[in-house]
């Protein structure tokens, strides 16, 4: 159980929020892939803090420095290590958290797991800041995938009670995914954006926070990736998605909604569209029996509200062994969902680049 994931393409994420630097090693990338660094910087900026009032006021340039695995702008096939310095840290804000854990945060279980030696400043290795290396890794992988026809895009599906228009799972234009995947507050409906921004602003003004859902779509994935049982694509996606801090639910296609349907309603009927087999609906979310069907992959990830809120809350003092009250200091997002969108896209990119080289067995070159 570790901060390392993958088999063909492995990622090892390191760093603590207020330590010297955070970063990632990507091992197993194909050689000879040119990287567009402007595109990487764009993806980093979508997640970076300090953009607007919907996120934390902490500002970080988040420019990754690539230490290895790239020569003349092209991957060499050796492990790619990228490091992002932490520059804007105000660690004094966090000292009391070592004895008084924040409700809803990892403070308490981490203190048990690491026997008090964990870095609590800014959440340490549990900080949402650790998603920056994920976004970097995703930005690299999605460029490689795009060259093979795979497009990834996600949007803020909901925040609190406010909802965006969901994807049409049988028809997701490239243009839609391209547009979503280059903006900071990606929604399908401009009208929804203002409602959602208002909900976040309400949370911010009341020193509270609010949760939401990210919906992600991937098109161009060849049919036949994945496998039965634990080798399925849903297992792979969910293992990475639940690795994103604050993610508490993952569903594919109709998801929990499928639990309320009949088979006749939920089954996706096949038909020939020219020479290609397609389905009239896509309640499977592009995955059956753990294997891609060739239809768009569609899934949703639920994010809980940021646990760090300005309101006073009940907690305990682990040193004094007494009940106490806590008001969390520091700079925090009233809602992580907009910034989680590029992280979810990055998770999808990691899973897919790891799966794309899959064939059934060892000797089919």
């Amino acid at each position: 159980m570790s901060s390392t994931w993958g088999d063909r393409v492995k990622i090892s994420v390191f760093g603590e929020s207020h330590g010297k630097a955070i970063g990632a090693v990507l091992d197993g990338l194909p050689a000879g892939e040119p990287l567009d660094f402007d595109e990487i910087a764009l993806q980093m900026s979508r997640r970076a803090p300090g953009r607007d009032r919907s996120g934390t006021p902490r500002k970080e340039s988040d420019l990754p420095q690539i230490l290895s695995g790239v020569l003349n702008g092209t991957t060499t096939g050796a492990p790619l290590c990228a490091v992002i310095e932490n520059t804007n840290t105000r660690s004094g804000d966090y000292e009391n958290l070592r004895s008084v854990p924040r409700p809803g945060h990892a403070d308490y279980p981490a203190a048990l797991r690491y026997r008090g030696f964990q870095d609590v400043r800014g959440g340490g290795h549990f900080s949402g800041r650790l998603t920056a290396p994920l976004v970097f890794a995703g930005a690299v992988c999605r460029q490689i995938l795009a060259r093979r026809g795979v497009l990834i895009g996600a949007h803020v599906a909901s925040v609190g009670a406010e909802k965006d228009i969901p994807f049409d799972p049988v028809c997701i234009p490239d243009e839609q995914l391209r547009r979503l995947s280059c903006v900071c507050f990606p929604v399908n409906s401009p009208e929804a954006e203002s409602r959602i921004r208002a909900a976040i602003e309400r949370a911010r003004l009341t020193q509270n926070s609010v949760g939401g859902v990210v919906e992600c779509a991937v098109t161009g994935v060849p049919a036949g990736l994945g496998g039965p049982l634990f080798g399925g694509m849903e297992s792979a996606f969910s293992a990475v998605l639940f690795g994103i801090p604050a993610c508490k639910g993952v569903e594919f296609g109709a998801g929990f909604g499928a639990a309320e349907l009949t088979g006749a309603e939920n089954n996706d009927a096949y038909y020939y569209d020219g020479g290609a087999v397609r389905t009239k609906t896509n309640r499977a979310g592009g995955i059956l029996g753990g294997i891609t069907t060739g239809m768009p992959i569609v899934f949703r990830a639920a994010f809980k509200p940021t646990p760090s809120i300005g309101l006073e809350q009940d907690s305990v003092d682990l040193n004094a062994k007494t009940n106490t009250r806590l008001r969390v200091q520091g700079r925090h997002d009233p809602c992580v969902v907009p910034r989680a969108v590029p992280v979810v896209e990055a998770a999808a990119a990691l899973v897919l680049i790891n799966a794309m080289n899959e064939t059934n067995g060892g000797a089919e070159k």
Copy 2:
């Protein structure tokens, strides 16, 4: 991507629905654990087909034969292999499925992945029958866990629109879990059972099927298991749960509901209960930052309706390359949810036995 899972305790599942046998190898079990074979048989019977009209009429005794890893009723520490013979197969029912894939089933993507060589009879390796070895493995692991104070139980939380009473996530009596985990149609409310059975019967009578949700709880798990990022408990649970055929959604604690809450609503306040730290609510489902909090672990898994229904559906003929109509023959469950309950419990047992030996690093014996 394979039918193998785990690191400390590994499971390798094999078999095809209408092949000679199915089974599993469990590698890494502790030595010296006595096994109660009646208890294993009880768990197998909860999942076994042919019990009542809510499941498939196919009957299998499903008695596992243990080939290795057990001596004088006690684990030896060597890999434990159990084999379950397939006796009641009617393979003639499936021959046309090689060219005409069932909507909602793995037939089509499996045909691509295995280039037509997959065993289609009864769904082959994709059959729900492959959950029998999972239940066996879970039955072994839960006995070992129970000796360490860990109890697992699940119930039919909903079928279609009919709902059972959910767990109270802050207080789940041992008695409740013990009762649920030894019956075939586990519900918290006897009244709900009749409504849910009626919904399944309606689906059966209309040659249709219906989906549902299983809710699972685990008590007695020590705080401090798991880790950040991909090493979190949610990632581990979801990777196995999505390996269960028909599972399309997984959520922990408040799950997707947390996306509609504010931080003040969703955070679980800490307090001292005698000398122990507990939370007043448990919207986290017993996991924060990927690490167990010591509160009950609570999660839900959504199952889609069985894709094999008697109603005629649109499909394609992959040989003729034309559209066609399909009426699925064979014996099928109108609802897999009641039989999925022991499978979900088994998945939880596997994840926990694999995690229980986790410590932070290599040299802390």
Copy 3:
């Protein structure tokens, strides 16, 4: 640390020498591979006991029963499980070994590791008998490899002081490998066979045993398999070879001999042989930087003498906590080396089928 190995093609080996059965699950084989069962039986018979006086007089038919993963004689792509029954067991021979460990055998460390619960009969899971599932797995894999031009063969390079003629590492005819890989006592020199047999017979007549070396060659392996550091082919081969009971040394190409050479002597000069790059010598054993060069892969594995000998030896009584003397009963090989030859070949086949699907990264289909 387990009896499971591999990433693309995984093997999980189970069973105890005097238990009900032994076997293996092979997960990740390509679909659509026809299997020649006579060829499998031939390989099993090369390893099987009871052939002549150079091995143990225990007789086992060792016919594997395939439970899954094969339909109409062809792989389905689902996990292939094969089971071999244990029929000829005389467990009474072993009872005293629980308290008096055999020198040179795993008895003592296994008793500590499994706290006395391990199956000691016939060596339990540590028995050389567990190499039968390995040979089965290798027999499956080498058929698939042969169709891709990869040939594997090994010989008894030495027993005690008696040596066979080694391979010429730059030129190994297919015919030589084909001949070696279908006989029970494979040597390059018929004259060497009689000397080696005599050495084994001397050990047998004195109730002693004797060690030896197996040399293995693989031709037809494409250049470019493997990778740097821990991902190298030498790491992969050695991890499986040291999994064979009694193996205490592994070397590639010039191996330990290279430690006595200068660079000018050890470097293999390149030249063009028609359009193909070859080396004039092959002291690298076909592997440089962990990657195959396209030249034959050549390695040697050293096997210690069978620890179970009829001579009386010093040991301890773990129950009485006193020194004692031990005379090992039971039927044992005076020399495992001839029977280890097909096991070494099988190990090579497993490593290669797992590596053949390797490319540099995730998206190069």
Copy 4:
């Protein structure tokens, strides 16, 4: 197949010889371990180039910068990333190697594997320089192990035909290991050092190189670590040792010598030494059935002579597709063996810290 290794404690090594930096991520270290940075620097200096004429004249300070996982000099339990800058690079020396591969080096197979995109400067990711992060990781792990009573030391067992006195495998004083593990040219016999240095100097003066053997011992390892088949300690050690560039052979205890012995000679007789079980000899090298016996672990790794030599050699021009001659420019070690000693010790430390947390299965806390 990757530059990542381990399960409980994972290491991911990155970097290219003439790139910006090299380094490693260590994931899974226990929290709360104080690190002695002077001791780390000492280990780094033992491997660092430019010390004396037995190694390359390239000078690197090799001071690792720790980016994460350490707070106030103590491990936090989060992944530890250390980066070592490359400062002293003369890349012009290597340009012609892209078309004319050096005999005995990874140039040619790497060019095939990475399709010409690999970084060839200084050997890129295949450079011996990548052992610096290994030594760093080992320096961290051995401090943690030493606190648990485990000591590691190695010596230059031989260079060419010149040999040092081997370890006495039944009795290795702590003092001996402590002395070896802090010097740059570790030998058991001072007299051997001068002979060995002379052999290296002869190779240097003739623009040649020479191979050798490193022998390593580990004391204080508890009995019962490891397991049968692929889970054995020999498999673990060898997988990491063969990851060290130029390693071509690995043997444990009597190793290849055991192949020439009888069982009566090779078996290690047990006896009670006070209350402890010991063996009178230790031809097993402290490992039986893949499991530690409690006796010292002793193994040897053979290193081939450095392939980069000043003498002119035959090679090919891959662009011109013609035979050619090559004289390797650049600064190279006439013998890597003295500098390989701390690398072998580091490999042992990695394997042991990964294994120390092993127990038989998932639920034995």
